[in-house]
């Protein structure tokens, strides 16, 4: 099963188990989603629960929030993360704050699903990786899977979570990664990172599509005799401090990979965090491998995005420090 099929399977499983779950967004109904993530749901659950909305992200998020207040479990899809900003006010001022501002009287548990990231020749409006905006917004949880198995388990956990979740799907690997995925209902816990590969010499931390870049780098490094531990963050907020700390304590070296622009990206936070807690354990400064501080380009996207080669270069640098 591919990652996007795991999204579909997760949605289908959730809708089957829990009739509070509704899906809404642009082209999610009859068409089954521009990436086919909602394929078949319209036929299975009808147009009341699988809703082709008018073209307005503020309306999608805003009405989804109304549904959540009322007791449904909406799973709005934003067609590309790049198009979420007309709904940004609803997310940061309303969805994220309603529990707090109402003293817990009203809550808006919902899962905002959206494909994100580069690598599909989308130019700067079909490639953005702006998770840092949301991670800096108290009240939201940020979940980013990188494998089909995690995708389904994390999606199901997110839908049952009492808090709103930004569920960012690395579209570059929608079809590139395949796995046997468990049938039926299961949850993967939010807030837990995954050690995607064990190693001793250096820790590489990544999430989403970059996890696969990190794994490729680790594979090459092994051939060169370097043992790389690769951590898949899976949840950015609240992140799994214990797993991160334990690994970097062990290896004494860390390389952080993000495809988002460098300045103000989430890996700056992780760098600061590790440094604050583990300075005495660090054998070398933590390195970041990131996208550029530019809008996402079209022709040169392979050059813009972190590659295994660039990750290896950073690994070499922390090892030779």
């Amino acid at each position: 099963m591919t990652l996007v099929e795991a999204v579909n399977d997760g949605l289908n499983t959730a809708m089957h188990e829990d009739d509070r779950v509704v899906v809404l967004g642009e082209d999610v109904g009859v068409n089954g989603g521009v990436f086919r993530a909602t394929d078949g749901l319209y036929d299975a659950y009808g147009e009341e629960r699988v809703i082709d909305t008018p073209l307005a992200e503020a309306g999608i998020i805003g009405t989804a929030m109304g549904m959540a207040l009322y007791g449904l479990r909406p799973v709005p899809e934003i067609q590309f993360l790049d198009f979420i900003y007309p709904g940004f006010d609803q997310i940061v001022n309303e969805v994220a704050k309603i529990r707090y501002r109402s003293g817990g009287q009203y809550t808006a548990p919902m899962v905002i699903r959206t494909p994100y990231g580069g690598g599909i020749r989308g130019g700067h409006y079909h490639s953005q990786s702006s998770e840092a905006y949301f991670a800096h917004t108290p009240g939201l949880k940020i979940v980013i899977p990188s494998t089909p198995t995690d995708t389904k388990g994390l999606l199901l956990a997110s839908i049952q979570d009492e808090d709103p979740v930004m569920f960012l799907e690395p579209k570059r690997v929608y079809r590139a990664v395949k796995e046997d995925v468990e049938e039926g209902y299961y949850e993967t816990e939010i807030g837990e990172a995954r050690i995607a590969r064990e190693g001793d010499d250096v820790t590489v931390i990544a999430y989403g599509a970059m996890l696969h870049v990190a794994l490729q780098a680790a594979q090459t490094a092994e051939e060169e005799g370097v043992s790389v531990e690769v951590i898949d963050m899976r949840t950015l907020v609240p992140f799994d401090k214990d797993t991160l700390e334990a690994s970097v304590k062990k290896t004494g070296r860390a390389v952080l990979v993000q495809e988002a622009p460098r300045t103000g990206g989430f890996m700056g936070e992780i760098s600061a965090f590790l440094h604050e807690r583990l300075i005495l354990n660090l054998e070398a400064p933590i390195q970041r491998v990131t996208g550029l501080d530019t809008p996402f380009p079209y022709t040169l996207e392979e050059e813009y995005l972190p590659t295994p080669t660039r990750v290896l270069d950073a690994v070499d640098e922390v090892l030779s420090y």
Binding site: G59, M65, L69, R99, S102, G104, Q105, T107
Partner: protein, 367 residues
Amino acid sequence: MATLEPPKTIMNDDGQPNGEVPDLSQDALLDMYEAMVTTRLLNERGMKLQRQGRIHFYVGSMGQEASHVGFGAALKETDWYFPHYRDTGVAVLRGASIEEMVHQCYGTAEDHIQGRQMPNHYSFKDINFYSISSPLSTQIPHAVGAAYAAQIKDDDVVTGVAFGDGSTSEGDFHVAMNFAGVWNTPTVFLCQNNQWAISVPTEKQTASESFAIKAKAYGFDGVRVDGNDVLALYQASREAVEKARNGGGPTLIEAVTYRMGPHSSSDDPDRYVPQEDLEAWSNRDPIDLFQAFLHEQNHLTESEDEALRERIKDEIQAGVESAENAEGPTIDSLVEDVYAQVPWHLREQADDLKRFYGERPDMDGGH
């Protein structure tokens, strides 16, 4: 908007019926009146407390008491109300206590929302009175989404949502109206056209003939009603609510009224509101109008009216005393309700803060 037909009225300037009076019991009429008077008195006291530095802000609704109370009264208790920040009267009508409201204005530990919002930003879930937000128009799509949810759950619930004239300019108004039209949700929209958005008059807000006509862009009806005439507001709202309840879809009501005070305690309207306008509108004060009507119809004597006002003032005074003696929220409350459970980073942050402030800092401010 000069050439438009005048908005619908039921009472003339002396509070005498000049149209068909809606069929409302004496109790119902008096509840509406009490809600309007309470709103006015809270407003007066709130502005005073603010000037005395005992609370830090107040946003009143002088002149607009009929606009929201007439609308709120047309909804059932089980219907959900999504308020504009001036809609204190609807909270009162639905049963919010004065004491709760005063605690909210002081932001005490007894405030249901733990001192987390500015004064007047109430939230009363038990009476289906939705949490008030400062960002304008954001509640409008919520009302549509909730109505959709009620509809697919087959619940007999209508949602009512209120906002100002200025708020119609935001994108959220547009998207909410449009979704409501397409989904045919049981939602009634109330635009309280008080002629101003802070200092911006309606003619700089929109070139549209009226606010009511904006409904045309979404395929449903808009009606213009005298916003100072609580009976006219009630009647039009009642029809819209019944229509919505019976599957007839949404309606937009424009309540034509006037803001008789400052925008809020932070505002100085002398810089921009023409004195003549205030004088002209004060002849149609919504409370005076309704009072005259109730007197004339023998629903309320002068002495009953006096007694009612005294009782409300006493309740407000009791609320103020209670709030001024209350403790403030705890440091822990700072990190609660961000998420259902307090996550590790917020736990750490609160614990760190307790090194400086202990469990519960003194209430600050001027009282």
